[in-house]
Symmetry: C2
Subunit: 448 residues, 2 copies
C-alpha cells in the first residue's frame, strides 16, 4: 500500500465530490481526515466551499479542527456561531489551546467559556491568559507531570500507571521540590531503561535550565531550535514551576515569525490567502496609499528640475535607473538586517561591524555598476558628461542605500518600531529621493 497514492486518490475523490456536490461523499471523506488535514482542506478552499465543508464536519471533529484552523479563519467561523456553542466547543480542548483561542475572542465569550470549565481547568487557563501570547507564559500549558526527587523510579512508574494518561509530547517528567520549585527533569526514556529501584534524584538532569515565563516567544523558539528540545519547563521569577512549552507551539512561533518578515517586506500584512477580494483589497490599499504619498514626494523632487529635463530629455530616460538600483541595493541590505534581527543574531558586539560591512559592500558594488552605467549611458546618448553624472549619482545612491539600509532597522528597533513593517517604505522613499536628487541635481550643475 503506497500511502502517497492513497491520499492522492482521496483528494481526487474529494475534488470530484466537491465538483458534483454529492454531500454524503464529501462528509464521508472529511470524517476520515485528521483534524490538521481537515483544517488544511478548509483553509485552502475559496470562501463559499469553506462554509460548506465546515458544516459537513462530524460534531465530534469540530473542536479539534477549529483548533487547527489559521487564526483569522477561526475567528470568522466563531463570529458566526452561538456563544454557548463556542463555549462548549472550545471547552473540549487542552488548556493551552483554549487559552490561545480565548486570547482572540471578545470578553463575553471568554467568560462564558471559563464559566463552563471545572475549577482546576479554569485556574490553569487563567494562569496562561495572564501572560501575553508573545512571551513564554502565553505559550505554556499546565499539563506537566511533576514528581519528587526522593521517589524511586518504581514508584514513579506505578504513579504513571494509575494516572493512565500521559499528555502528548511528554518527553520528560519535571522534578519539583516540596514548595513546587523547579529542580530538574527526568526523561521518560530514562525511566524505561533504568533499574526501577534507583531514585529519581540519581537519574534526573539538573543541568537543564528552565524557561522564565517572561522570556520573549522568539527567544524561546531559538532555545528550542538550538537545543533540539521537545518540551521545556516554565518557571516564574522565584523558580516556581508554572507549566511547560511543547515543540508544536514552537513550530507555530517559527512559522509566524518567518511569515511576519516576508509579509511585512512585501506590504501585504498578515493576510488569509483565500480571503474574499473585498476583505483583501482594503488592507493592501492602505500600503498602496502610503506608497503613493512617498511616490509623490519623489515626484516633487523631479518637479524641481523641470527646466533641466526640458533641456536634456535623456535625463528623464535615465533617472529611473538610478532610483531603481538604489531601491534594490537598499532592500538587499535591509532584508539581511531584518532577517538577522528575527533570528536573534544581532548584538552589541556585531552591529557596528555589520553597518561597516554593508557600507563596504555598497561601495564595491557602487563603483562596479557606476562604471558600467557610465559607459553605457555615454555611448547611448553620445554624451560623456551624462555618463559622469549618472556614475556619481549611482555611487551616491548605492552607498546611501547600504549605510541607511543597515542603520535604519537598528534605529527603528531602538525606537520600538517594527523594522520589517516600516523599514521598506522609509528606505525606498530615501533611495528614490536621493536617487532623483543626486542625478538631477548634478545634471542641473553641469547643464545649468
Amino acid at each position: 500500500m503506497n500511502t502517497a497514492i492513497k491520499s492522492q486518490k482521496q483528494l481526487a475523490r474529494l475534488d470530484q465530490a466537491l465538483d458534483s456536490g454529492t454531500l454524503a461523499d464529501i462528509s464521508g471523506i472529511l470524517a476520515d481526515l485528521s483534524p490538521g488535514d481537515a483544517a488544511h482542506l478548509i483553509s485552502t478552499s475559496p470562501p463559499r466551499s469553506r462554509d460548506l465543508l465546515w458544516n459537513l464536519l462530524e460534531p465530534e471533529q469540530e473542536a479539534d479542527v477549529l483548533n487547527e484552523l489559521p487564526e483569522e479563519l477561526r475567528s470568522s467561523f466563531i463570529e458566526s456561531m452561538e456563544l454557548t456553542d463556542v463555549a462548549s466547543l472550545v471547552g473540549q480542548l487542552d488548556d493551552d489551546d483554549i487559552a490561545d483561542i480565548l486570547q482572540e475572542l471578545p470578553e463575553e465569550v471568554t467568560s462564558q467559556v471559563l464559566g463552563i470549565m471545572d475549577e482546576a481547568d479554569r485556574a490553569r487557563v487563567e494562569a496562561v491568559l495572564s501572560f501575553s501570547d508573545d512571551v513564554a507564559g502565553g505559550l505554556m500549558s499546565a499539563d506537566t507531570i511533576t514528581i519528587r526527587a526522593d521517589l524511586t523510579l518504581d514508584v514513579v512508574l506505578r504513579y504513571l500507571r494509575r494516572h493512565s494518561e500521559i499528555p502528548q509530547n511528554t518527553d520528560n517528567l519535571v522534578v519539583v521540590s516540596r514548595n513546587d520549585r523547579y529542580v530538574g527533569i527526568l526523561p521518560i526514556r530514562t525511566i524505561l531503561v533504568t533499574d526501577p529501584n534507583v531514585s529519581v534524584r540519581e537519574m534526573m538532569v539538573t543541568s537543564r535550565e528552565p524557561i522564565p515565563a517572561n522570556m520573549p516567544a522568539s527567544e524561546v523558539a531559538r532555545k528550542f531550535e538550538r537545543n533540539d528540545w521537545i518540551s521545556a519547563p516554565v518557571v516564574d521569577d522565584e523558580g516556581k514551576l508554572l507549566g511547560r512549552i511543547t515543540i508544536d507551539d514552537i513550530v507555530d512561533v517559527i512559522r509566524e515569525e518567518a511569515d511576519h518578515s516576508l509579509t511585512s517586506l512585501a506590504r501585504i500584512g498578515e493576510e488569509d490567502t483565500f480571503a474574499p477580494a473585498l476583505q483583501a483589497a482594503p488592507r493592501r490599499a492602505i500600503w498602496l496609499g502610503i506608497n503613493l504619498l512617498t511616490a509623490f514626494l519623489a515626484a516633487g523632487v523631479i518637479n524641481m528640475f523641470q527646466g533641466t529635463i526640458e533641456k536634456v530629455v535623456a535625463l528623464a530616460v535615465l533617472m529611473p535607473i538610478v532610483a531603481s538600483m538604489g531601491g534594490i541595493a537598499g532592500t538587499q541590505t535591509l532584508t539581511v538586517l531584518i532577517r538577522a534581527m528575527a533570528l536573534g543574531q544581532i548584538n552589541r558586539r556585531n552591529q557596528i561591524w555589520l553597518v561597516g560591512r554593508e557600507a563596504l559592500v555598497a561601495s564595491i558594488n557602487g563603483i562596479l555598476w557606476a562604471v558600467i552605467v557610465a559607459i553605457s549611458a555615454s555611448f547611448w546618448f553620445n554624451d560623456q558628461t551624462l555618463g559622469l553624472i549618472i556614475a556619481c549619482a549611482m555611487l551616491i545612491n548605492l552607498i546611501t542605500a547600504g549605510v541607511f539600509g543597515a542603520a535604519l532597522p537598528l534605529l527603528l528597533q531602538k525606537l520600538g518600531i517594527d523594522a520589517a513593517l516600516a523599514g521598506g517604505v522609509v528606505l525606498t522613499t530615501v533611495t528614490d529621493v536621493v536617487g532623483f536628487l543626486s542625478f538631477l541635481g548634478l545634471a542641473s550643475l553641469f547643464y545649468g
Copy 2:
C-alpha cells in the same frame, strides 16, 4: 536563580573577554555552552572572531558544534581542516547528521569519512546519502527501535533495558513484520502506563500512515505541522521500514523554506549574515546586474517618447508614480502566491479562483487610486487631460500587476522554475514597462 539574568551575565562576561582578549576566560565560558549556543555565538561573530572562537573550543565540543553551525559557515571551517580531522570529527555524529554534512562535502572527504565508520553505521549513512536532501529519505536517520507485534510489553521493556540507550526524540517504537514491513507504532508513553502482560498488537497504533521515502521534504514538514508529530517512520515503495524522521530536522526544513521565500524576493540569495564584504558583494552584484538590464529595458521604453516628454515635462515628473504603484501592487500579489505555494495551499481546485480574486482586488484598488491620482495630478499641473491619462495608465498597470503577479508564479512552477527566485525580477520588469508604456503612450496620443 533567574536563568535569563544568568545567561545575560554570561554574555556580558564574554563580551568583556572578547574585547580585552583574555583567551583563558573565553574558552572557559565557551566550554560551558551547549553545542547550539556555542554555534550561535560563533555564527553571529564577525569573521575574525569566528576563527578565534572555533580554535578555543574544547576538542570534545568540536563535532557537536560543527553539526549545529549554519551550512555555509560549516563548509568554510571544513575547507580549512585536514581531511583526516574532518573525517574523525564528522564520524562522531549521529548518522543522519553525518549524511547531512557529507552531502555538502567533496567526494574525497565523503569516502574518507565513510572509510573510518564501522560497517553497520556506513550502511545506514549510505542509505540516507542515496536520497537527495529535499525528500523524506534524505532527512531520515536509521536509529529506529523496531519491535514485533506478538511481543508482550514486558518483553519490550526488558529488551529496552538491555539496550540501555534510547535515541533522542524517540516518542514511538516502530512495529514491523518478519520481513521488516511497517505495521504500526507503539508510543513509549503507552508502554509506561499499560499492564506489562498486554501484547504490542493490542496497544499499537495502526492508523498512523508512514512517510514514503520519496515524499518532498516540504510536504513532510507540513504533515508534521498539521499532526503535531515528534517523529515519523519512513518506508520504501514496498512498505519496508527504512528509518525515521524527527521534529528537529523538520524545524530546520521549515526555517529554510521560509528563509528561501524571503531571501529570494529580496534578491540576496542564501547569504551568511556575517560573511566578509568581499564574499557578500559579488552575490548581490549579480542581482543588481540583472536589475540594471531590466532598468535599461524600461529606460528604452521612455526613450521612445522623448518628443512627448519635451513638450510636456510634467510627464517625466509623474511617470515614476505609475511604475512604482504597479511594482508594489504586483509584489503584493506575487508574495501572496509564493507564500501560499510554499505552504502547499495551492491546488487545482483553488488556483483559478485565486487569479480571479487577485484580478478583482487589483481592479478595486486600481479604480480607487486612479481616481485619487487623477485629482491630485489635475490640480498639481492644472491639466485635466494629464489627470485622465495618468488615471487610465494607473488602472491598466495595477490590473496588469494583479493578474500577472498571480499567474506568473503558477506558470513558473509549471515550467519547473523557482517562482520565488525569478518571479520578482520578471514582475517588476513587466510593471515598469507597462507603466511607462501606458502612461507615455497615452500621453503621446493626446499631446501628439
